[in-house]
């Protein structure tokens, strides 16, 4: 009898901390009452939320429930990288006031230039309506429990610049290979590492050596990540507190579209699918509980390993308006298909799956040495990653956003164009990686690296301007619309439908695109010519199907002085 009871207790305990518990906690979010949305003050931009149409993939929507397409990029000037132990550019916002911009640093000191007001102006001129702004935990909380509010002032400065240009900001808690406090070792280039502060980086004397030229494939990084996922010494609690600090600061700001919870989570010593399902997604649920008060998981302890069923205490932020962007495990970039079960994470409705689309860059084919276009993987081409992401987002009841994509400029015609085509096909916005980057001609920035010391970049890459300064619908009353911009000839077509009297569909045409605008079907068009040379088309349907087109015409690219 005692033996049976003991066995039953063991089975029950193990089931609670493993898949049965995780799946029950996930499915329970489907029947839980979603946390009520808190009213937000009227701001410079409309509040965004995630709309959940029955039987369809959720989508990012505005206050009139229109589909919102966000186009943007990721400037990296606020991130702290190694090998040093301090942020290299001024943090004080006064150093950037009134159009000032600190000198850029050489590529061997900093891979990225400082982020200045002129950068935001350049982004807006390309038609971007969102900036993904990565932050470093190491700068935010350099000493345990002590937060650097000057850093948040600096973030707020960038947010204000963006608002003035009617651009949203995604404030992104970023990391690359866990931290630049990973010990030095063979193949370790800390210039490429960012994230956790020194006090949260536990490598337990594991050797620091990079294998396969991938910064994450390093035993010390594995161990540091593992310690984070198992909440060694309460560091996960500290991370949640740091994120809550950021959310609290921008809680009432409608121009902050939302928050990226954790960039490219690395698996540590764990295996898929358990990493995502038992460690990563429960961590996300706890973050959501903490900042929204959703109370999805079970009440549990904190400060050390919390099983998948565990929720988290309400930290009193009560932000129930912003979007939360959630990345899948980094291994998805290798497989180009989901590496987890696909059950929902939280009852909080404003969740966005952050897709990092790096087909032929980090996928298996590249890791075994194949070069595009002569590759044998993914078997389903680019569509494999996208179709599965669409299904993944739908199953998890989240909107979808291409949070990162980018490549060596040599491969633009093959990779960049393909990913942008997929984004259009799936009606998904994007943030291009990266805005500006120091280094040689192979650097990934939208601009060429600077050729003159102290300047933040060289000229804009013409090919990238053609591809990224696109005609696109910023808002659509019809979430099932179809649209296509052809960067080869500058033409654009959109097909949608709607009821008379509904809100307008808004199409943005950048200054680079010069073709004539025309409408067809049940639509009335009003075209506004902006001072920067762009055009904005307001398409109001009179009831039924309609089209908006832009004729092919030669592009008007920014000259390179």
């Amino acid at each position: 009898m005692i033996g049976r009871v003991a066995v039953a207790i063991v089975v029950l305990a193990v089931a609670t901390i493993t898949y049965p518990g995780a799946v029950l906690a996930s499915l329970a979010t489907r029947v839980a009452t979603p946390p009520a949305s808190t009213p937000g003050p009227v701001g410079a931009l409309p509040w965004l939320h995630v709309e959940h149409p029955p039987g369809q993939r959720p989508y990012i929507a505005d206050d009139q429930n229109r589909l919102v397409i966000l186009h943007g990029t990721t400037p990296v000037g606020l991130l702290e990288f190694g090998p040093g132990t301090s942020y290299l550019y001024p943090i004080d916002p006064s150093a950037y006031a009134n159009g000032q911009c600190p000198d850029n640093l050489p590529a061997d000191v900093s891979r990225y230039p400082p982020l200045c007001q002129s950068d935001l102006t350049q982004m807006a001129a390309l038609g971007f309506n969102v900036v993904r702004l990565p932050l470093s935990w190491s700068v935010l909380e350099p000493e345990r429990g002590h937060f650097n509010d000057l850093y948040l002032d600096r973030v707020a400065q960038v947010v204000d610049w963006a608002h003035a240009l009617r651009m949203y900001v995604i404030v992104d808690m970023h990391q690359n290979a866990f931290s630049h406090y990973i010990p030095k070792g063979p193949g370790v280039h800390l210039l490429y590492n960012s994230g956790a502060p020194r006090w949260a980086t536990f490598t337990d004397s594991f050797p620091s050596q990079v294998f396969g030229n991938n910064r994450e494939v390093n035993p010390a990084v594995f161990e540091a990540d593992n310690n984070f996922w198992y909440d060694r010494d309460g560091i996960q609690d500290e991370y949640i507190a740091a994120l809550a600090r950021v959310v609290r600061r921008f809680k009432d700001d409608s121009g902050v579209a939302g928050f990226g919870v954790y960039n490219e989570p690395w698996i540590g010593w764990n295996l898929p699918p358990g990493f995502d399902d038992l460690l990563l997604f429960p961590f996300y649920r706890r973050v959501i509980d903490a900042v929204t008060g959703a109370r999805d998981g079970l009440p549990c302890w904190s400060g050390f390993y919390m099983p998948a069923v565990c929720g988290y205490r309400d930290l009193g932020v009560d932000d129930r308006r912003h979007l939360l962007f959630l990345d899948t495990g980094l291994q998805r970039e290798v497989t180009d298909f989901p590496t987890h079960l696909g059950v929902p994470i939280s009852s909080y409705p404003n969740l966005v799956l952050g897709l990092h689309a790096y087909t032929h860059i980090y996928t298996v084919d590249k890791l075994v040495g194949q070069e595009v276009p002569n590759t044998n993987y993914p078997w389903g081409g680019y569509e494999q990653g996208w179709d599965s992401a669409e299904r993944e987002a739908k199953a998890m009841d989240m909107a979808l956003f291409m949070e990162e994509f980018g490549n060596n400029p040599e491969d633009d015609d093959l990779i960049l164009g393909a990913q942008l085509g997929e984004a259009q096909k799936h009606r998904v916005g994007f943030a291009f990686w990266t805005w500006k980057e120091n280094g040689d001609i192979g650097a990934w920035g939208l601009f060429r690296p600077p050729t003159i010391d102290a300047e933040s970049s060289g000229c804009m890459r013409g090919n990238r301007e053609e591809l990224l300064a696109a005609v696109y619908p910023r808002l659509s009353a019809d979430p099932s619309l179809e649209y296509a911009y052809d960067w080869a000839d500058g033409s654009f077509s959109l097909r949608a439908s709607g009821a008379a009297g509904g809100p307008s569909t808004v199409v943005y045409i950048p200054p680079e695109v010069t073709g004539e605008v025309a409408g067809g079907g049940a639509v009335r068009l009003v075209t506004s010519s902006e001072t920067d040379g762009s055009r904005i088309v307001f398409a109001t349907t009179t009831g039924g199907a309609f089209q908006v087109t832009v004729a092919a015409a030669p592009p008007r690219l920014t000259p390179c002085a």
Binding site: G3, R4, A6, V7, A8, V10, V11, V14, A15, T18, Y19, P20, V23, L27, L271, G274, L278, L341, G342, V343, R391, E392, K394, A395, D397
Partner: protein
């Protein structure tokens, strides 16, 4: 052991069910000669739970993602 593994890694679940059921039948048929009935039933139950999770998860994915 297979049963407990099945709770972490569903791939072990069918083997845990098979092994647990077979062991329990042999123990039951031995008329007390063989022991370990609690462990066999524990493995069987854990395997069944693991299997149920796989089935529920797969059904959910198919229904919710299409």
């Amino acid at each position: 052991m297979l049963g407990l593994l099945a709770l972490w890694f569903g791939v072990f679940a069918p083997f845990a069910v098979y092994s647990g059921a077979r062991s329990w039948r042999r123990i039951h048929a031995s008329g007390g000669e063989l022991t370990g009935g609690a462990s066999a039933i524990g493995g069987l139950v854990a395997g069944l739970i693991g299997l149920a999770v796989i089935v529920v998860g797969t059904i959910y994915w198919v229904v919710a993602s299409s």
